[in-house]
Amino acid sequence: MRGIAIAPLLLLATLGCSEDPVPGLEEERRQILAETVEKQSFWSEVERKGELLKEVRQLRTEAIEATRKIAEGTPELMALEDALASSREINERAAALLFEARRELGRLEQERTSRETAMASFRERSRSDPLPPAAARFDR
């Protein structure tokens, strides 16, 4: 009677060993390792993404600032272009006037020279000695 009572217990003990949870747990461990990654690397990614998004915000702010400066500078640029075109046009007209004035001055210098030449020829001829044909008879 006592042996009969012990037998199922032994059987249970044997069964307990035959249904060892370790393989299952190891399988579960393998699966976890296969399907997961260290949280540290995940957080590194998250941190990296955060830094990048922060950088993006900063870059966009700077880009907006630069674009704003470009927009602000555009009217000045246009004004400078207008001023340059206008001053060039004025100077071209002034250069043309100067060209004409110099040409006129050259013409006047020639006229003055011709008059000075006439005056010089008066002086030169008045000092020249040859007698006119009609006077030659009186110079003997």
Binding site: L59, A66, R102, S128
Partner: protein, 229 residues
Amino acid sequence: MKSVRRLTLLLLLAGTACNDGREEALRAELTRLREERVEKSVAERAQLETREAEGAAQQAREELEAAREGLLQQEAKATALRAAVAAEVERNGRLTAELSASDQSIRAELRRIETLDREISRIRKRATLARTQGETLAREIRAEDPEWATDRRLEALAEFLDALAEESPQDPVLARLAEHSVARVRESSESAATAGAALAKAASERLAFVYGIEPEREDERAGKEEPPG
């Protein structure tokens, strides 16, 4: 009953002994792993988002670079334009100064020309008048006139030649004509009138030569010889 308790304990011991404590360790490890690890899909999504953020950052960098480049180009263009405008302003100053100087030179030349024209006109007018006077004397000293008339005209001729020599002291010909010629006319073998007329003509030719005066035209002469009224 006591034996049953012993047996149960044996069974437990047996159960424990059959995995040698491995189960407990695994369970502990599993607990740790669940705490320390995260599902790959979650991590992959984080990586994807990071890559997207990297792309966005790269794009933002390029956009910023382009904006900075645009700003630099604009600043460079503005600097170049300012320099060009400054150069034109300077050129304008130079042109204005040169125009002013040219204007002054033109005015000065005009004044010199006007002065010279006046002087040339004065000299030629005087010379023309004297030449005409000489021509007139040459015509008026006629061989058929009486001697006293010829003498008076020779005296007038001598005064005329003296005045010419005095007005043009540098002229050796007029000086010689004035100094010697009237006396020689009187000593001349030909008639005094002919010689005097020739002398007056010589003085007239000298003036025409020196001052480039055209010979008196026939119509001018005829006009002068017409009786007044």
